[in-house]
């Protein structure tokens, strides 16, 4: 089912299994209310996150992407988030040249115990994306073809 028209935006989260996914669980266990937009994709480690997954999400029509991993030094795999931090930071810098507001993408650290922090991150990020509004999707077809289909279905 699509996101709820007019109420939700497409926000994708990539969360490491050990800290942030657990943090989101902790927030759930504590019944911390959160906006419903975010859909979480579980990965073992923030180091698994190729920034290109984020790019792919934006190309395919995501309005916001959130990456969350273990706090630096706390990586379950010792170093994954250190690499992730560099790659994601540089990538966050990069997307503005594409015409994507850097605020549509955030990476952060939430530990398994930080349910409250998770609630705060999700809430604030969701609001941040809503402030920017939807991101126009990149057409899957050529512009001429797009123009043709648009005139065909006014």
């Amino acid at each position: 089912m699509p996101v709820l028209e007019g109420r939700e935006l497409r926000i994708i989260g990539f969360l490491c299994n050990w800290c942030s996914y657990g943090g989101a669980d902790t927030a759930g266990v504590a019944r911390f209310d959160q906006p419903t937009d975010l859909r979480i994709i579980r990965v073992p480690c923030s180091g698994r996150i190729d920034p290109l997954f984020v790019a792919k999400a934006f190309m395919n029509g995501a309005d916001g992407v959130l990456v969350s991993g273990c706090h630096p030094r706390d990586c379950h795999y010792a170093e994954g988030n250190f690499y992730a931090r560099r790659r994601l930071e540089v990538f966050k810098n990069f997307i503005s040249v594409l015409g994507i507001e850097p605020e549509r993408f955030e990476y952060t650290w939430v530990s398994a115990s930080e349910g409250q922090r998770w609630q705060e991150v999700v809430t604030k990020f969701t609001n941040q994306v809503h402030t920017l509004g939807p991101l126009a999707p990149v057409p899957e077809i050529s512009l001429d073809r797009l123009a043709a289909t648009e005139t065909a279905q006014p």
Binding site: A55, F91, T108
Partner: protein, 316 residues
């Protein structure tokens, strides 16, 4: 200087399978890579602002063979980068360097003379390029028609070489200020996006940008054309073309020397170097790192610091 370069190459040639340099191409405006196997091939060597190609592109496929290569400053940085990534062996490559004054942008020349298909003669002297086409003669100052990358070049001389011919030149600029990028990013986000939509729409997916890139070393195994992983579909829509450029730029982050081959090779003139410029700036700002200067360095994205100097994480 050219003669001196030829002599140096001729001396080294017996030890080498061949030396890669530039010769004249199909007309007086277009140079072409020249593979010099015999001394008489060396006589065809040219040097000047028409030597637009980065010949380092050929090196990874020649790994294990003893070859020579003539480099401009920017080309030498690609060689350094390939060495850093163990894609070539230092002892197999003999590098011939010479000072570079910058190379032309054929697109810019076309904008001046209208059609670059009608060239009769070309002369270069003292910073001025004279092109005769359709009976008319056009004089152009090199600085007006040189590739953008030459405007912010800090390394006109080879950063590493076995033989350096000629006198080293002082760099044009001390610092790259990324004005091109700032200008582009002075547009609102939506306009930037619209700009790329139109540009990407024209892409013919020939992958010349990739194949001309000296650091696109996956080449035959590029994710752009594989089903596993299946990053891109074969659709020729804007989305997949745009995504490819993002992949290319991202894979080059921290490695790209902004040699500009991607943009130069593009047959439909899409300014794809801008993507890499953005990454280059981010890498410079965040890690104070320039790719292709030190074959021994660890590139920033393959390393980390427990406490990063210039990364400010978001506070919620």
């Amino acid at each position: 200087m050219l003669e001196q370069l030829k002599d140096t190459i001729k001396k080294a040639l017996p030890e080498l399978d061949f030396v890669i340099g530039w010769g004249m191409g199909f007309d007086a405006l277009h140079a072409t890579p020249l593979f010099m196997y015999e001394p008489e091939d060396v006589d065809k060597l040219v040097w000047g602002p028409l030597n637009v190609h980065n010949l380092a592109t050929y090196l990874p496929a020649l790994k294990g063979r003893k070859v020579g290569i003539v480099v401009k400053g920017c080309d030498s940085r690609s060689v350094a980068e390939l060495l850093q990534e163990n894609l070539i062996n230092r002892e197999d490559v003999v590098i011939f360097g010479a000072p570079c004054r910058g190379t032309v942008s054929l697109t810019k020349i076309r904008k001046v003379i209208g059609n670059t298909g009608l060239i009769e003669d070309v002369n270069y002297a003292d910073g001025t390029l004279t092109v005769k086409a359709e009976g008319a003669s056009h004089e152009m100052a090199l600085k007006d028609i040189r590739a953008d990358k030459c405007g912010y070049c800090r390394f006109p001389n080879a950063v590493l070489s076995d033989h350096f011919v000629g006198e080293k030149r002082a760099p044009q600029v001390e610092e790259d200020t990324f004005e091109d990028l700032a200008e582009f990013e002075s547009q609102p986000f939506e306009e930037r996006r619209d700009f790329w939509m139109k540009e990407m729409d024209r892409c013919i997916r020939c992958y010349a940008c990739r194949n001309a890139c000296p650091l696109c070393v996956c080449r035959d195994h590029c994710v752009a054309q594989s089903r596993d992983p299946h990053w891109l579909s074969q659709q020729d829509g804007v989305r997949d073309k745009f995504m490819f450029q993002i992949i290319h730029a991202t894979h080059l982050a921290g490695r790209c020397t902004t040699c500009g081959e991607c943009e130069r090779a593009c047959p439909v003139d899409i300014p794809v170097l801008l993507f890499k410029r953005k990454f280059t700036k981010a890498i410079k700002d965040t890690f104070d790192y320039d790719a292709g200067l030190d074959p021994e360095a660890t590139p920033p994205l393959l390393a980390f610091k427990a406490n990063e100097d210039n990364i400010k994480e978001k506070e919620w």
